[in-house]
């Protein structure tokens, strides 16, 4: 390379111009003055941490990893990655039991699912929430996601023969939410893809994407999952399959967080992992047809999840919903819902979570839609609990609208 032709630094931190734009868009800063903010926690802090790891402070844990700082940065600094990477590198404290529980979705899902009705009943009880609040510091205001008695994987396996008959095939990275909590979304995806002539297969043993482990100080476990998942995805790619995902967070995690934060090389699979709404939109753009019901009328307000904002693919979900006849569409202002995955479950973050999401909840109430559309499951829990409106994945809305 010629002298100084370009600049190379971890997460591009040295390109920071100190313009302060990121601080204007950080949702945490607006609600929690104990958080140093993306500029101080990120590029400012990095120079000091390079001098001495002693300059790392635990207040970086207030970062929600929503990536809005990165989206707004005119210099291309990966501010949020810088902060999360610093936490992974310098925070040597062992994660609390509560954080382990919240982050181990595969484990908890596997345990809870066989007893779903009991678990669901117990977690909705006030007394349970009070106990969890007092012992584990999981905020008692939080509603817990319900577990589904029947997992998605089992269902798809039962239908594997008919799926294999379709001329085109894709693999589906379903993630924890669809498998343990809400298999209906997976069924909706299958319905829509089948209508496009595409059959759906399971991957050969996927694991949780690991995002909650990354942000809860369990990066080693996350790395194990990452390496496992990359191998599973590579296997699918090698057999000529694209992989579809419905969760915006799982998609971002596998595409971006794996290499940036975990050092896991996903170059062979990254471009084959497609978000469902992007995949469906591109198919329709290239001439595929879907038949819609003529009696389908619904007022939809679309909420762009933060990670979708970072992916830049909200446009696909939006355009897809607008294509459905009978949909009265509103694009909600880009605003974080506040839950930030496991973050909002923690007692110490609860009030901040709710404060962050307040403008969004207000706007939803003003728009008063029939349903809020959103690709992220944790946004769904937050909006249903805090705004009181039903939330559906764009794919589920699409499935309902189909004339089959």
């Amino acid at each position: 390379m010629k002298i100084q032709e370009k600049t190379v630094s971890p997460h591009n931190f040295e390109e920071c111009m100190k313009c302060t734009i990121c601080t204007a868009y950080c949702p945490v800063l607006q609600a929690n003055p104990l958080y140093p903010g993306p500029k101080q926690a990120g590029p400012d802090g990095e120079r000091l941490r390079l001098k001495d790891p002693y300059f790392f402070t635990n207040s970086l844990k207030y970062c929600m990893n929503c990536k809005r700082c990165e989206v707004s940065c005119p210099s291309g600094v990966h501010v949020a990655d810088l902060i999360q990477a610093a936490r992974i590198k310098y925070d040597k404290s062992a994660p609390k039991l509560r954080d382990r529980i919240l982050a181990s979705t595969d484990f908890m899902g596997t345990l809870a699912r066989p007893f779903a009705p009991i678990v669901n009943g117990v977690t909705s009880l006030g007394i349970t929430k009070t106990v969890l609040d007092a012992t584990l510091k999981i905020d008692h205001n939080r509603t817990f996601p319900k577990y589904s008695a029947h997992g998605f994987e089992g269902w798809l396996r039962r239908h594997s023969k008919e799926q294999a008959a379709f001329p085109e095939q894709v693999a589906y990275y379903h993630g924890c939410y669809v498998n343990y909590n809400f298999p209906q979304l997976g069924k909706d995806l299958v319905k829509v893809l089948n209508a496009l002539g595409v059959g759906v297969q399971l991957l050969d043993g996927e694991k949780c994407c690991g995002i909650a482990m990354i942000t809860n100080g369990m990066s080693e476990s996350a790395r194990k999952n990452a390496n496992h998942n990359i191998a599973v995805l590579e296997k699918a790619v090698d057999s000529g399959l694209n992989i579809i995902a419905t969760s915006s967070t799982c998609t971002l995690t596998i595409r971006e967080e794996y290499p940036e934060l975990l050092g896991a090389d996903n170059s062979k699979v990254k471009d084959s992992l497609l978000l469902a709404t992007r995949y469906i939109f591109e198919k329709l753009e290239k001439g595929a047809q879907l038949k819609f019901r003529s009696d389908f009328h619904i007022k939809v307000a679309y909420h762009t999840p933060c990670h979708m904002e970072k992916l830049g693919w909200g446009v696909f979900s939006e355009k897809l919903l607008r294509m459905i006849p009978g949909v009265e569409f509103t694009l909600l202002d880009s605003n974080c819902c506040g839950i930030a995955g496991t973050y909002g479950f923690k007692k110490e973050n609860y009030l901040v979570s709710q404060a962050v999401g307040a403008p969004l909840f207000e706007q939803i109430k003003t728009v008063n839609p029939d349903v809020v559309a959103c690709d992220c499951e944790t946004c769904k829990w937050q909006i249903e609990m805090s705004a009181g409106y039903k939330v559906m994945h764009p794919v589920s809305i699409l499935a309902q609208a189909l004339d089959i």
């Binding site: 390379m1 002298i3 100084q4 032709e5 370009k6 600049t7 190379v8 630094s9 931190f13 040295e14 390109e15 920071c16 111009m17 100190k18 313009c19 140093p36 500029k39 101080q40 590029p43 400012d44 802090g45 990095e46 120079r47 000091l48 390079l50 001098k51 001495d52 002693y54 300059f55 402070t57 207040s59 210099s75």
Partner: protein, 531 residues
């Protein structure tokens, strides 16, 4: 004694002058230091910040090497908050002669410098940024030192022991009676006020300007200015000093210091007229980057913060006017013995890190002249702020759960951080976000450290030394300074000077992110603020 009478006058507020004032003051002398600008504005403020182990000189100049290692160990003890004990590597690259390593290590050991040959793989593990092609490495006790902090701490200690300081005060002539220097004529460069001071002994510690001072006194000290160019990179790439294990040459030391690292240096003779306004040339910039990249390849693609140059005062040996015979080591001239001029000595040569020894030599000479029999205690007494070795301990003691800014203050002030208003939210507010400098720290510097301009403030607190180069903090700090001295007009001019100074160091490396930052700074000051 009248208020303008002292036992000793020291001319020069660099490290040599400050160190000499400290030593004299500790030995009970009534001292006055006079400096025409601010502290450490000469070579003290424009060097590498390297705490030599002495290894660099071991092969060719054993005496210097021994001096260095002794002072190195002393400074670690007495100047803990100014020193970063990084250790250093001397690496051999494929194009160097590996056989030199053995000679090098042998010479180090002879001089009392610990030199351990380590495996190249171990070197890469210890210092990941080192050139991965290295074929040999030796570990030595190099370190880095903050010259501003060191100078300020010495001057502070002198003041604690009763010393007085006059900054922005120029010596315009000597008060001479026959063959004795009795005092100096001075002029305050900011106010124009003229004043005379008297002392039986005057010490010329004015670095390269010592040549003119000596001339004014009526003696000749042959000095030859030698310019050295350096580059500061925007963040720390290395945590150990990296040197080349070969005959010393240009651009072969990469020193980590505070939040940055510095590559240097060069050596070019320049005329005296250029001493007050040295600039770094494009050729020097290219040389520093390309040679420096041999120590650490990252330099090819790391943002550069600024370019600067300092002037070494090379003293001719035996008064040789050709400049070919340069004196190695410390030069302490008793002009009574040498030139028949009483009451005047010159202390020069040496290097930043042997300042304490230079000061000791000068003070011994002064005391001899004054008939005072007091031993030097500077090697055993910690400088103010350095009483506690670890700034982490300091931060923990003062603040139970120190924030990033508070940790930063502890690393700059050492134990004296306790004098900041603790837990006062107004004082904790940040003025400089790049270097974490609070309102409290700035107010303390203005109150207690003879600050009159933004650049003075920068030297004492590090504001404007981060990647934004004063974009935001300069006008915030200007507001605080204006409040302190009450003259806005002066502060406007000060702000302009400050920005011009920063720009001077930026445009020689004005490309990439540095140019983007400069454009942004232009935009903020001209369009947004309307300066």
């Amino acid at each position: 004694m009248k208020p303008n009478e002292f036992d000793i006058i020291i001319i020069g507020g660099g490290i040599t002058g400050a160190g000499t004032q400290r030593d004299c003051a500790m030995r009970g002398l009534r001292t006055l230091l006079i400096e025409k600008s601010d502290i450490s504005t000469g070579a003290t403020g424009r060097n590498h910040g390297l705490l030599h182990s002495g290894a660099r000189y071991a092969v060719n100049d054993a005496e210097s090497a021994e001096e260095c290692i002794r002072e190195n160990m002393i400074l670690r003890r007495i100047a803990a908050h100014c020193v970063d004990e990084t250790d250093g590597l001397f690496i051999t690259l494929p194009e160097d002669d590996l056989a030199y390593q053995a000679t090098f290590v042998e010479s180090c050991r002879k001089a009392g410098i610990r030199a351990d040959i380590i495996d190249p793989e171990e070197a890469k593990r210890l210092e990941p940024s080192v050139n991965p092609d290295l074929i040999g490495a030796v570990r030595v006790p190099d370190g880095s030192v903050d010259p501003f902090r060191l100078c300020a701490a010495n001057m502070l200690d002198a003041k604690i022991h009763g010393g007085q300081v006059r900054l922005y005060t120029e010596v315009t002539g000597f008060i001479r009676e026959g063959d004795t220097i009795k005092g100096v004529h001075t002029r305050n460069v900011q106010t124009g006020e003229e004043q005379d001071f008297y002392a039986p002994v005057t010490v010329n510690a004015a670095g390269i300007w010592g040549h003119k001072i000596a001339e004014m006194a009526g003696v000749n000290v042959g000095m030859f200015p030698a310019k050295g160019a350096l580059l500061i990179f925007a963040h720390r790439i290395n945590n150990m000093v990296i040197n080349r294990c070969r005959k010393p040459s240009n651009a072969d030391i990469l020193v980590p210091g505070d939040t940055v690292c510095i590559i240097g240096t060069t050596s070019t003779r320049i005329p005296f007229e250029e001493c007050d306004d040295v600039a770094v040339t494009p050729d020097e910039v290219n040389l520093l980057i390309s040679e420096g990249a041999k120590l650490s390849p990252a330099l090819m693609s790391t943002r550069i913060l600024r370019a600067y140059a300092g002037v070494r005062p090379l003293v001719s040996a035996d008064n040789d006017p050709t400049g070919r015979n340069i004196s190695r080591g410390i030069v302490c001239l008793d002009h009574e013995e040498r030139d028949g001029l009483k009451g005047f000595i010159t202390i020069t040569g040496g290097k930043l890190m042997t300042y304490r020894l230079m000061a000791e030599m000068a003070t011994d000479t002064v005391c001899r002249k004054l008939g005072i029999d007091k031993k030097c205690e500077t090697a055993d007494t910690p400088l103010p702020g350095s009483e506690e070795k670890s700034y982490k301990e300091v931060a923990q003691t003062i603040w139970e759960n120190p924030s990033m800014a508070q940790k930063s203050a502890a690393s700059r002030l050492g134990t004296r951080a306790s004098r900041l208003h603790v837990n006062d939210k107004y004082e904790d507010s940040l003025i400089c976000e790049c270097e974490e400098v609070s309102v409290g720290e700035i107010n303390a510097a203005i109150e207690r450290m003879d600050v009159t301009t933004l650049t003075d403030l920068r030297r004492r607190t590090r504001i404007g030394m981060g990647t934004c180069q004063g974009e935001f903090c300069a006008c915030r700090a200007a507001g605080l300074l204006a409040k302190a001295h009450g003259c806005i007009e002066r502060e406007r001019a000060d702000l302009n000077n400050f920005l011009t100074e920063r720009w001077k160091g930026n445009f020689p490396i004005g490309w990439g992110d540095t140019l983007r930052e400069a454009e942004y700074t232009q935009w903020v000051y001209k369009h947004v603020l309307g300066i």
